[in-house]
């Protein structure tokens, strides 16, 4: 069977370029220029899928994005699987492999269809909820089996070999849709000097002109398309994006376009000959003006069995014949409400096949096309409609009757016509989806019998979407819109362009018909489908309104009308019209549902772009990173930073465990000397005559008397009185301070300072600058720190001259440095700051000299143990946004008597922040020194209390201390400071209960003698 339905000549396919493809395991041939859908039709494939709910046989209905049935699973390999590809939008390529998304064991003999056939009448909307509602606990079980029978397509189970990326654009005019209106709009805007982007979702630009019977300037309309595209392509200010769907229309004319770059060529970009290139690209466009030229979707009529393969929309028939040289069948019946559908009959007849009849719902149609059809000998049956399609796997006949639209009844004798194809047209629905994304509601247009876009600031609808269906009008409306958009974007002297001549044609008025009456009621008649993809029938909508669903949004959710990947492209207006009829209201009174992005499904890859794998998130490195890597560090993520976590050594050919490495590093600091890369700490340079005053207002403690050369620890609260950050700030000069922040808080603190300066105290003369990356910071700490430092610096390290909480400048390892005597370990410590470009040489010099002192690099884990042993907190670990300085026992760092109120002061005098039973920071000593309590573990006072137990606090930090030779923890505990010496309990999820004694937060050197040496 080779392309039995291919017409011998014509079409826009390349017959010299044959292609092979596989559908449902069967090999077929097609041509370059085919879509998967046109190639399937050419090969006489009637059934392309099984329907979602009833598993009915389904064929191709349309030729574009609105296709509801021919939704396929694409991909030759597991890692190239793409679900939910519309065959009508998939360019054919050699080796293409596709399968139906539904149907088991296959689409020809589907087991589920018997369920649909037998149970169809017993599966009304809400069937699953109504049937499987009890017992409620079984729903999860039911759902598993229901889901097996449902769904469209499947996700690949292997990772995608392709890449996807993003590109940002700005333009004066974005034209969406390259049909006649879009091309005319792009041309007039571009000639006017505008930066223009023109996108179109089809394989080829040109829209309806590619299969039009109309001529332009007396020749085929395709000629004008080619000329126009050539002119546009030659302009530097124009970007043409074919195969690109405008999928989302967001605020302020921000539009996302999804470009398929190699998907039409091969399974992967590599297979297509473009290795390393993006398979699809998401364009993020910010347009000053948007011309919406998305055209229309033809509306099918709703009649019985209108879902049988062989039922199509009339325009698609023309498209397949004229553009793809494919005959969708042999004997055609058309059922229509308007003149436009007559073109399909003329095209069909000219292709040499039989038009059985045109069934027109209007009593006396008389447009030019009607006359032309009659003159060609085509039988026209007026005042009638196809009320039912006959057939099993494919249409074999049409039942036709005269109808009374107003009373919704058939009025005459039913005539049976033999045919294999029924093409229907209920008029056109402008493609308003994108305009609706912005939140605007489409407006009903009684003359057009359709919704047109509501008003969107900066958007101009043009052509079909604005209700201009005649070619001449479409072109001139497009040209007008393009010119207006260029002018609105700020351009002057935008001339009108000369448009090609069209031949005048008189079209008669259309009539309003959506659902066709049947001799039986909707419930008793064979199914009349409204939404083919979601298997929503006219009787389902009737039932929904009978059950009390009056809002169209409720009807939608009850019946699934317009759900899924389809977004109601073919069915929505018909569904609303049926709901309106049942409710006795007009269509505008019923209104529309809301269309949401994306217009057609978009692959996750395109949304993610290159923000994946190693580029998923920035990794921030310090100037010493290479050394850490070379010395075997394990890294910890702190914010975006990669910080050395610990430095495992190889001991007897085996890598140290984390526990062993941290114990070794801790003891090295307590007994000899260790070194930490502290470069990630936030650093803010503060200059100005009011710098000191400003510090006094953002910190809780006092800064008035801090002298140059001195350093002070400060606490920063939010206005709710809760601790937000801490750190040391050094007085460099009377008007010059260096603030340090936590690693994670650096950006937030700088923003906080700017916020208060700019909004509350702009009169204070002070400037802030981040110098986090400029300085590299190394902490040399331990009893031998001074000895080591004395070998590498010219700074006088005498303990009287360079005291704890002093800073000095000088040279370290030949590099200018600021050295701060601050300690986060409780040991003698020097924090060396050097310009980051020179950090590595200083670090390496320290190690050259440090060898004899066994200088030990340590990471964040050891830092945590050492600081916790001293009861020093980490904001964000020991605090959680609900902890005040008083809760931490840091009254000493709160200056209630400062002359100017500081941020958070007022909140600290609220009854809640002053009550006595707040959780307070305490130390915990587990009874079993080998038990390291879990951080986050809840504390109770009575271990035998029944659940739910009274929880009085939780563990915030917990470690094993090699110095204490046992475990210890910090915790917040209600009334904690009054519970010193008491025993508390920590019940664990595994049933064990740990015991711990409440102790001071300072476990080592409570007087601070070790850091003050």
């Amino acid at each position: 069977m080779t392309q039995t339905n291919r017409i011998a000549a014509g079409g826009r396919i390349d017959r010299s370029h044959g292609l092979e493809f596989t559908f449902n395991g069967q090999r077929y041939q097609g041509y370059a220029g085919d879509t998967l859908a046109s190639a399937l039709l050419a090969n006489g494939v009637d059934i392309v899928n099984r329907s979602f709910k009833y598993s009915r046989a389904r064929g191709i209905v349309a030729a574009g994005a609105e296709e509801p049935n021919a939704v396929v699973q694409l991909g030759a390999r597991e890692n190239t699987q793409v679900p939910n590809v519309r065959a009508t939008q998939q360019g054919l390529y050699d080796g293409l492999v596709a399968r139906s998304t539904n149907g088991w064991p296959n689409v020809q003999r589907d087991v589920m269809s018997w369920v649909g056939r037998l149970g169809g009448n017993f599966m009304p909307p809400g069937f699953y909820y109504k049937t499987f509602m009890s017992p409620a606990s079984m729903w999860m079980t039911y759902e598993k089996y229901i889901r097996m029978g449902a769904g469209l397509g499947r996700a690949p189970t292997e990772s995608d070999p392709d890449i996807y990326d993003h590109m940002h654009h700005h333009c004066d005019v974005l034209v969406i849709g390259a049909g006649p209106a879009g091309l005319a709009a792009a041309l007039s805007a571009a000639r006017g000097g505008a930066r223009v982007m023109l996108c179109d979702e089809q394989e080829e630009m040109g829209g309806s002109l590619l299969d039009s019977r109309d001529t332009l300037d007396g020749v085929s309309s395709v000629r004008w398309v080619e000329q126009t595209l050539n002119e546009l392509a030659a302009m530097e200010t124009v970007t043409l994006l074919p195969r690109t769907t405008a999928n989302g229309y967001h605020d302020h004319n921000f539009v996302t376009l999804h470009e398929r770059r190699t998907e039409h060529l091969a399974d992967t970009a590599s297979d297509a000959g473009f290795p390393g290139q993006a398979r699809a690209r998401l364009h993020r466009v910010r347009a000053t003006r948007v011309v919406l030229a998305t055209g229309t979707h033809e509306r099918p009529l709703v009649y019985a069995n209108n879902d049988l393969p062989g039922n199509m929309v009339a325009g698609a028939v023309s498209t397949y014949i004229r553009r793809y040289a494919v005959m969708p069948g042999n004997n055609l019946v058309i059922t229509t409400t308007n003149d436009h559908a007559y073109r399909a009959a003329l095209d069909w007849q000219e292709a040499g096949r039989k038009v059985v009849a045109i069934v027109d719902a209007r009593p006396s149609p008389d447009g030019d096309l009607v006359r032309q059809a009659r003159d060609s000998g085509i039988r026209v049956i007026t005042g009638s409609a196809v009320i039912e399609a006959r057939g099993n796997q494919r249409v074999t006949g049409a039942r036709v009757s005269a109808i009374d639209i107003n009373h919704f009844v058939i009025t005459g004798r039913i005539e049976d016509l033999e045919c294999d194809t029924i093409a229907s047209s209920g008029g056109y629905s402008p493609v308003v989806h994108l305009s609706s994304h912005t939140g605007t509601r489409p407006q009903w247009h009684e003359d057009l019998l359709g919704f047109v876009p509501g008003e969107v600031k900066g958007m101009i609808p043009a052509g079909g979407v604005a209700g201009h269906y005649a070619l001449g009008e479409t072109l001139s409306d497009g040209a007008r819109a393009g010119r207006q958009a260029a002018i609105d974007s700020g351009l002057e002297n935008v001339a009108e362009i000369k448009l090609p001549e069209t031949r005048a044609r008189r079209d008669g008025p259309a009539c309003a018909l959506y659902q066709v009456p049947h001799e039986k009621s909707a419930l008793r008649a064979p199914k009349q489908f409204v939404d083919l993809q979601n298997d929503v029938t006219a009787s389902a909508i009737e039932l929904a309104t009978r059950e009390g669903f009056e809002s169209i949004e409720h009807v939608k959710r009850y019946t699934a009308l317009g759900f899924g990947t389809d977004q109601g492209k073919l069915g929505n207006i018909n569904g609303m019209a049926i709901a309106a009829r049942c409710l006795g209201r007009s269509i505008p009174e019923v209104g529309t549902t809301v269309f949401r992005p994306n217009y057609t499904p978009i692959t996750f890859g395109a949304i993610v772009g290159r923000h994946c794998d190693e580029l998923f998130d920035p990794k921030r490195y310090t100037a010493l990173h290479q050394w850490h890597v070379e010395h075997g560090a394990e890294f910890e993520d702190v914010g975006l930073w990669k910080r050395p976590w610990y430095f495992p050594r190889n001991v007897n050919g085996k890598k140290e465990s984390m526990h062993d490495a941290v114990a070794r590093e801790c003891l090295a600091v307590r007994e000899r000397v260790g070194i930490l890369d502290a470069s990630t700490l936030g650093k803010i340079d503060i200059q100005g005559p009011d710098a000191r005053e400003f510090l006094g207002r953002v910190y809780t403690n006092k800064w008035a008397k801090l002298e140059p050369g001195r350093v002070r620890y400060g606490l920063m609260c939010k206005d709710d009185g809760m601790l937000m950050d801490d750190g040391t700030t050094s007085c460099l000069g009377d008007n010059h301070f260096l603030m340090t922040t936590t690693t994670g808080g650096a950006a937030a603190v700088l923003e906080w300072l700017e916020l208060w300066h700019q909004t509350e105290w702009p009169e204070l003369q002070v400037y802030f600058n981040s110098v986090t990356d400029h300085w590299a910071t190394m902490t040399v700490t331990g009893p031998d720190a001074r000895k080591l430092m004395s070998e590498v610096t010219d700074i006088d390290l005498d303990r009287e001259k360079f005291k704890f909480m002093d800073w000095k400048e000088g040279n370290v390892a030949g590099v200018p440095a600021r050295v701060f005597r601050i300690s986060f370990t409780g040991e003698l410590a020097y924090e060396i700051n050097v310009q980051a470009n020179y950090a590595m040489q200083v670090w390496e010099t320290l190690f050259e000299h440090g060898k004899k002192y066994d200088l030990t690099p340590y990471g964040t884990e050891t830092m945590h143990v050492l600081r916790a042993e001293k009861g020093l907190i980490i904001v964000g670990q020991d605090t959680d946004g609900s902890v005040t300085p008083e809760d931490l026992g840091m009254q000493w760092a709160v200056g209630y008597d400062k002359p100017f109120a500081w941020i958070g002061k007022r909140s600290l005098t609220r009854p809640d922040t002053m009550r006595g039973d707040r959780k307070q920071l305490v130390g915990l000593k587990p009874r079993d020194p080998n038990v390291v309590l879990e951080e986050g573990a809840q504390i109770v006072l009575d271990p035998n209390e029944s659940i739910p137990m009274s929880m009085v606090g939780h563990v915030t930090s917990s470690y094993y201390s090699p110095t204490l030779e046992g475990s210890f923890a910090l915790a917040v505990l209600k009334n904690g400071r009054e519970r010193m010496g008491e025993t508390v309990y920590l019940p664990m999820s595994d049933g064990r209960t740990h015991e711990a004694e409440v102790v001071s937060t300072v476990f080592i050197d409570p007087k601070g003698e070790r850091q003050n040496v």
Partner: protein, 211 residues
């Protein structure tokens, strides 16, 4: 402002200095080298970077006196001296970035401070905290369009313009100092991320990295 601690951070011997991109280039073993590169990427390391904040009028006077250049007053403006080696870029209404050949920054800071006297201003040396990447080649604009949401079309981004903007998931200062050359001022800690991102975005056009 007086009572500010000036500090020369540059050692006498700078032979062992490491620029922010040192780690990335070291990791790469051999530098990318396309036969017909559409993108040429290079670092301009070890330059002097000063962030100057204050009122435009007093700063303009000082800059004219000390550097013989006018302070760019218009938003997003970037000016350079005749040699092209010294640039001043508008960053925000009270903030400018001065970039000079490495080693000049401390003397320049001192002279500016002297000239500015008791006015309210700040000068901060950030030379170790950031570096300049040069992006050239036929496809430079496309690479930027993949990375930056700001409009880089020549009509919107002429020579002599610079902006602070979002770059992928980081921020950069983007500037166009010459017709076919872009500069990105990137923070030290984000340098590796920005460099990898640029290499990735450039790969389809062919990329060479030069020292």
């Amino acid at each position: 402002m007086s009572d500010v601690k000036e500090f020369e951070t540059r050692p006498a011997d700078t032979s062992r200095a490491e620029s922010p991109l040192t780690w990335s280039l070291h990791e790469q073993k051999s530098l990318p080298h396309a036969s017909n590169p559409g993108i040429i990427l290079s670092e301009k390391p070890f330059l002097g970077h000063l962030v100057v904040r204050g009122g435009a009028i007093v700063l303009d006077e000082a800059v004219r006196e000390v550097m013989d250049m006018a302070l760019p007053a218009k938003p997003h403006a970037l000016v350079s001296d005749d040699s092209g080696e010294r640039t001043i870029q508008w960053l925000s209404p009270d903030e400018w970035l001065i970039i000079v050949p490495g080693g000049e920054e401390f003397a320049l800071e001192q002279k500016l401070r002297q000239s500015l006297g008791q006015s309210h201003f700040s000068i901060v040396n950030v030379s170790g905290g950031q570096t300049v990447l040069s992006l050239k080649g036929k496809w430079a604009r496309e690479v930027l369009m993949k990375s930056i949401s700001y409009d880089v079309h020549p009509q919107a981004f002429p020579v002599g313009k610079g902006v602070s903007t979002v770059f992928a998931k980081a921020t950069v200062i983007l500037r166009r100092a010459e017709e076919d050359g872009w500069e990105l001022v990137i923070r030290r800690s984000f340098a590796d991320y920005c460099y990898r991102w640029l290499l990735d975005a450039s790969s389809e056009y062919g990329v060479s990295v030069t020292r």
